[in-house]
Symmetry: D2
Subunit: 308 residues, 4 copies
């Protein structure tokens, strides 16, 4: 799975909207995890393209009344999402299979993935750093708790490495002579009988790396980042979301700032929470249970607003 | 509905793939119908981007075995559609509402439309040229038959114009003072009481022009062209599909050529038609009805292959 | 455009999940506007189907820890949206074209619309009730302000009716003999030369009624309702959203209640609003502008929490 | 990963369209591969629902002109796909991860998958039957060739089993005390330090089984079947496509028959192939290369029509 050469650094003139700060990142590999990366391939549009699309919808009046940054903030705040669909980005990503399995759930992306039926996978698998090797969380059914002891970490990492190496050795062995001949299509009769690539690969664990081209519009990219850069997301996908967030910030600085203010660091308050807040601001001490909040909601509400 | 100024002709350097022949079309208005147009705003990718995405999926081997054009033809012929999703195009389109109502059915496009709630529509409506004014087809339930007589054409066009003009006069009248103040938001108390734009517009016929930004990936654009450049599509949308086809041909010449050969001028033959053809080629004279073809299918089959 | 007969009231046994309160609404026409309706055709799933899908994802543990209603509320509150996609509903809707043009923007719905190319449209158009005939809002660029005077309302309604009637008279006239023969396909040579249906219809205003079958999953239906039952939506689509909301409440009462609490009557608070609230609750009087709120945001914030 | 109990066999009356032959399959597990299954959970619509939706589009006239079966065949043959979107089906599927990775590419399906972050995976993995264990195809870069020798098969199956068993032993070991406590959330301090489920699982090969609820409309289901029941699809997904095809045939017999005739056993002929056929039927012997066919296309063309 030798990666295709970094996209050529040839520069051509264009009449399309260009974002110099992003443009120079084309072909650069942002390292993620132990062997992964995110690499910008192409993009379409910029902050101004959002404004342009919004103005066809909301008319000339908006042009004078608000400046561009204000308009972008207004759109994002009021969930006028279609103008953000007018920008598009394409990246080349190398990522472990178990991360790819989460990322593919963003159905609005276009994807071309490396195929283990056509090609032989490389001996590259993810082994977590000891610093992120944690026990099951006791409070969060899907997440991690405390880091494990250094001895236990050593044991676990040893198992993960050994099993992955052995799985790959057996993968190669099962491919037999075929592995050496993939690009020519010839077969060497003298070697051990190989089995088809599409079968041999089923022995490989989900820690192995795959790669793909991934293309998505800005609106759906922001949704992806909000979902996967969240503290509840698994660490190993969060780092990919963060790499994409860094590119997005370069690409559409105004939209990204609005996204942080109105989505990433915003919060949705329930009918009951709004009710409780109004009462608190009037100096009352509302009975949260009576307002309809579950025990868990009450706890989250108090935590959010530093209430006793 | 004064159109936004043609996209600026400023040229900047970029490391993105660029198609000079398409790039120079940016901002140029391709006239369609009496007042409409298609204008290229932006694009992402080129023929090479299809190849690049395909090779991550199908591996290095493909690189040597076939050249790029051959690979693109292979992909299109075998319905490997995802590499074609890696290219994206954005156009500004002005079109009658009844055409927009058909075009919006392509759900895979991103759209920002001019809003009759926010802004006042212009006095611009479609009146067909006499040369395309035809009677209802007697053979095709959805289409047109023969052109009508010049006298009848004159009558019909007169009606269409007069009704549209009158509808617009009344639209303006209903807007009252509001119409003059849309950009400032002020109200002139002394004028006739205006009603809201979102209500006044319901008086306008579907021949009136609207406009939008429309963005789509190449795979879905080709599907759109196949569907709407077809002889069964209404003439008024076909001309938009043709304008888009012309841009596509400049953009991705190899993919477009393959599309013509394997889709646009190809045909899907049913199980029964394939059976009949095999028999015909062996010198037999198959009983088409006995093979399971309906009367209509038999007629179409004979027409397609110039059979008696 | 005679509507197809109400779906037959035949009852059959099924092993599928059934919601009796919704089932008995099948085929019943809920009137909307002057000639429109929403009519339930079919549905799949119920509250329990949401729980069933969630449990395959979140495991057996959830079964014991929380009861079904609690799980549904948890899912909706934390934007775990996929279990809500497991329910589907199909309705037959009759609606003015200008409302259809808004509703079609929900791209996740499946739609089969009445075609003015195949069939002749009926003489049915929307005329607003005087009680909803309002001037342009001065504060809201897209909405309505005060109701107009009874005299002006009479005038406006008169124009709308007269223009629509006249447009339809001319539509019929342009169809000529063809109009009488649509179901048989015959042609009466003696009558005035007709033009094709697909052309004649362009004379009709967007107030005319169309109809369609509309199918959507519960997650996307709730998004539709949130968007279109909102106070900023145009009145004429709001009433359709409300009819759908009433059906949804019968269908999945637990999910609908959660939707009201965590979405419909909830609010998204920005980073700056959250900051301001924390300070207010500590007894401080924060400088909203210094926290980064625009003048409009400050006004909305104060209004939301009844602050001076 | 104990599967949820088969859906209850309770029968209730409904006014919805019901297909008795399909209804009785609800909850029945159709076995696929060594541990997998497809199990019908719910469905919406039937052949008649396709006709119903088509008639709102194509008008009353179609009612008399053709009977239902003919209309369905006409729609499918002419790619009028939207009426087929009016039917929906939901299944519970258990399948190996590497098959799930292919199946998820059908982006139009709704999916809720078992989560290895929330729950512990079972000791269940796919081991191919010796009869499907084949070498890499020499003619088809993605497929299988001849079956391997019995000795080699034994060796390979032994490796696959042993590695999977070992990977699972280590998975359990890494989970430590946590594995026994997943449903209660308690922790047993005395046992070996466990690591989080989301990390331990990365050791498992893609041959392990996962499961999900999968919901899709009929149009997209037929596309899935056409793609995945094809001879070029990997055997292990083909058997899932075939199980779904069997259910579809029970569900919408007319639509399924039309699908076989016009899609599954139909063929798309290129512009060049159509040209060649016309010449052949006239008794000419066309030069295929001169018509523009590549060597591969010429070979396929001759094979398809049994030409020398």
């Amino acid at each position: 799975m030798k990666e295709t050469a970094p996209e050529a650094a040839i520069t051509t003139p264009t009449r399309r909207p260009t974002v110099p700060a992003l443009d120079e990142k084309i072909g650069e590999r942002i390292p993620v995890l132990d062997h992964g990366f995110v690499s910008l391939v192409d993009y379409m549009g910029d902050d101004q393209a959002i404004v342009q699309a919004a103005r066809v919808s909301y008319g000339r009046g908006t042009k004078r009344a608000r400046e561009d940054r204000g308009l972008i903030r207004y759109l994002l705040r009021h969930h006028h999402t279609t103008p953000f669909e007018m920008c598009e980005i394409k990246v080349h990503v190398k990522l472990p299979i178990f991360v790819a399995r989460q990322m593919i759930r963003t159905r609005t992306a276009n994807v071309n993935e490396y195929s283990g039926r056509y090609s032989i996978l490389d001996r590259e698998f993810y082994v977590p750093d000891a610093s992120v090797l944690a026990s099951q969380s006791t409070s969060n059914r899907q997440g991690r708790g405390d880091t494990v002891s250094p001895e236990r970490a050593r044991e676990v990492l040893e198992i993960l490495k050994r099993d992955a190496e052995q799985a790959y050795d057996h993968y190669e062995g099962m491919l037999g002579g075929a592995s050496a001949t993939q690009t020519t299509g010839e077969q060497r009769g003298e070697e051990s009988e190989g089995i088809a690539r599409e079968l041999a690969r089923i022995n490989l664990p989900v820690s192995f790396y795959t790669q793909w081209y991934w293309k998505i519009d800005l609106h759906n990219l922001l949704r992806f980042i909000a979902l996967r850069a969240d503290a509840h997301a698994q660490y190993e996908i969060r780092v990919y979301a963060e790499a994409l967030a860094a590119l997005t910030k370069l690409w559409v600085p105004d939209a990204y700032e609005a996204f942080v203010d109105f989505q990433l660091e915003a919060a949705s308050l329930s009918r009951m929470e709004l009710d409780a807040l109004k009462r608190l601001l009037k100096g009352e001490t509302p009975d949260l249970a009576a307002l309809g909040m579950s025990a868990r909601e009450q706890a989250e509400f108090k935590r959010r607003f530093d209430l006793a």
